[in-house]
């Protein structure tokens, strides 16, 4: 009797969980959303963008030797770095790469953030609000590019990452600090659709010069910051792991099972019914 009841509960819950819908498609870029295009072949590694970013964001330099601010990784005080990749066998082959938030179209960090401290704005940037952040660092786990950084040495830490100079643009600037100062126009700012078109124009014009790919066009669901390079993107630290974004997988499974709250509700009703029945039977047996 009890076993049959239990089966009913499991089937009801399972049927709810197996309902279709919910499987969620990947997001696409909002039509007028903005982004950046970084062309590694234009970059000379002058790091003017790194300095400009620090100034614009009010982040103190970190001179490790007391003199030079030579930051090699993003960290709790650095939202933008220039890295150099060199071929170990052939030192003549090298490439610079700029690293900052990619402003994913379907961002993992936004999908996992409990109270929405990280938000994807319609305009394109992924922004951060420290007041609803509890410092759980799930965004760091979820980000495929290891972009969000945590202030490990602070008793009141925040998550630190590029927001495409939102505050600066709100004050009337027309573009982020890094794109503004770049002397070679290696990094440019604009509507993502236009930047994508420009990237493909360059690829078509110099096919032998570039790796035939615009990184971020559709990698991991696509990013608002796009990259061109003459060396394989994996060498520059970019994961080439398909077109599916993490959130589109997780959210499909999670919402698929939960069905709005239908599955837990049915399961709860069933469990309560079985418990009450079993306890009643026990009491009768006692009497």
């Amino acid at each position: 009797m009890d076993r049959r009841n239990l089966l009913k509960v499991i089937f009801a819950g399972g049927a709810a969980a197996a309902l279709p819908a919910a499987a969620r498609n990947q997001r696409t870029a909002a039509p007028d959303s903005v982004g950046m295009l970084f062309d590694s072949t234009y970059c000379i590694g002058c790091k003017a963008c790194v300095v400009a970013c620090r100034e614009a964001q009010g982040l103190a330099p970190e001179p490790k030797d007391g003199m030079h601010d030579v930051q090699t990784e993003l960290d709790g005080q650095t939202k933008n770095v220039i890295k150099l990749w060199k071929d170990e066998k052939n030192p003549a082959v090298f490439a610079y790469v700029k690293q900052q938030c990619m402003h994913c179209i379907d961002p993992g960090c936004v999908s996992v953030c409990m109270l929405g401290a990280l938000k994807k704005t319609a305009a394109g940037p992924v922004t951060y609000d420290k007041d609803t952040c509890i410092g759980c660092r799930y965004c760091q786990v979820a980000c495929p590019f290891n972009v969000p950084k945590f202030q490990w040495s602070s008793p009141t830490p925040q998550i630190v990452k590029c927001d495409l100079c939102q505050s600066r643009i709100a004050r009337g600037a027309t573009q982020p600090a890094c794109t503004e100062v770049c002397p070679r126009k290696a990094v440019i700012y604009g509507k993502r659709a236009d930047l994508l078109e420009e990237a493909h124009r360059r690829l078509a014009a110099h096919p032998s010069f570039y790796v035939d790919k615009v990184y971020g066009e559709d990698d991991l669901g696509g990013t608002s910051v796009l990259y061109l390079a003459s060396v394989p993107f994996t060498k520059l630290g970019f994961p080439e792991k398909g077109k599916r974004s993490g959130p589109s997988i997780t959210e499909s499974v999670q919402h698929g099972v939960y069905q709005g709250f239908l599955t837990p509700a049915i399961l709860y009703a069933g469990l309560a019914a079985v418990v009450i029945r079993n306890r009643k039977k026990d009491k009768e047996a006692d009497e």
């Binding site: 799930y138 602070s154 994961p239 837990p264 709860y268 418990v275």
Partner: protein
């Protein structure tokens, strides 16, 4: 005659004092942690933002403490009343284990003064976040577990009111762990580029759920054998060996799903490498206790039963550590190993948990002592 009763006896035994001292050390380290931040006190970093406080205290700790959940399933859903006297001690382990997990989360999060906003800012809840679900469920379950346990320490007149609500609480006490223990598996699903393909799977929630039920039974067996020995209780091996069999069934189901799920995808990432070896070792670690615990006759031997239950706990723990830390690779430049203060905090928390358990069974009717307790 099998009524639960306080065991009584001296509280401040040498063992108890050592546990308290370890707990005190953890608290001292935590004061330091709140002054200087997580960087100087732990081994965590931007590549490995979650360390043992999450992978052990929360993910593994609550799994071992899931005896209350697993036994409730057995007694109230499968209606196996004969195990009833094992429910209360298992629930105590659950309430304590989950409280420790809650404390660990609180010291782990960077912006702890915002923590109250998670349960109260309901308009901001992001239901895409598996962690939000885990957080809300664990918070609720800590409360539910303590209420379920409260008849053993509250005066009788309160218990009368509770009696009416109890079936609904029991059902909640089964629903909540079902939800958050599976979601602890979903948590790592989003890290598609970081979790090794032999561990990354859409079956993660189901694998975590099935293994946690097994771990819960193994935890209940372990808790009963140890407390039986330490407090010289009447032997319960005839009951416990049957529960051991439940561990077996869970782990066999786990193995079928784990291997079957990977086989459907052609064992991605499998080859002549360390991770594949670890994967095989992990399977063996599940298979051995599953096989041992299947033999009810042999498991009547308390020593063998203890060993098999230990192995079962170890298997589930290793699986969780692998998903959260070992098979998690954020890139070649990052490494994580817990710092000594970090480990001492975990050790201290577990010590306090054990101390609280011994205190509770001496003061409140949790365990069923033998008729002639020495």
């Amino acid at each position: 005659m099998n009524r639960a009763a306080p065991l009584g006896g001296r509280i401040f035994t040498p063992r108890f004092n050592v546990l308290l001292a370890l707990g005190g050390l953890a608290i001292a380290i935590l004061i330091w942690r709140f002054i200087v931040g997580l960087g100087p006190t732990t081994g965590m970093n931007d590549g490995y933002p979650w360390g043992v406080w999450i992978a052990f205290d929360v993910v593994t700790g609550t799994a071992i403490a899931c005896g209350g959940y697993a036994m409730a399933l057995m007694v109230y859903i499968f209606n196996k009343g004969q195990y009833h006297k094992l429910v209360r001690p298992a629930l105590l382990t659950t309430a304590l284990g989950y409280s420790v997990a809650g404390a660990s989360v609180f010291v782990d999060i960077g912006r702890w003064w915002n923590a109250w906003k998670v349960p109260s800012f309901f308009w901001a809840w992001n239901f895409n976040s598996a962690l939000l679900e885990v957080a809300l469920c664990i918070m609720s379950y800590i409360i539910v577990a303590w209420i379920e346990l409260s008849p053993s320490f509250l005066p009788k007149r309160f218990v009368v009111y509770l009696e009416k609500a109890l079936p609904f609480l029991i059902a909640l006490g089964i629903l909540l762990p079902t939800m958050h223990q599976s979601s602890l598996g979903s948590l790592m699903m989003v890290a598609v580029t970081k979790v090794h393909p032999l561990w990354h799977s859409q079956l993660l929630p189901l694998l975590f759920l099935i293994s946690v039920i097994g771990m819960g039974y193994a935890g209940a067996v372990l808790e009963a054998t140890v407390s039986g020995r330490v407090f010289r209780l009447e032997s319960e091996t005839h009951l416990l060996s049957k529960i051991g069999k439940a561990v077996s069934f869970c782990y066999l189901a786990f193995l079928v799903l784990r291997v079957g799920g990977l086989a459907l995808n052609g064992f991605p990432g499998f080859g002549a490498n360390g991770m594949s070896l670890l994967f095989l070792a992990e399977l063996a670690l599940f298979a051995v206790p599953a096989w041992l615990l299947l033999d009810e006759q042999r498991m009547r031997n308390p020593g063998q039963l203890f060993l098999a239950a230990m192995l079962a706990i170890l298997a589930g723990a290793v699986y969780r550590f692998d998903v959260y830390l070992v098979a998690f690779d954020p890139g070649s430049n990052w490494h994580y190993f817990p710092s000594i203060p970090e480990m001492l905090v975990t050790i201290g928390f577990v010590s306090l948990e054990i101390a609280a358990y011994t205190l509770a069974v001496k003061l409140f009717p949790i365990l069923s002592p033998a008729r002639s307790t020495p």
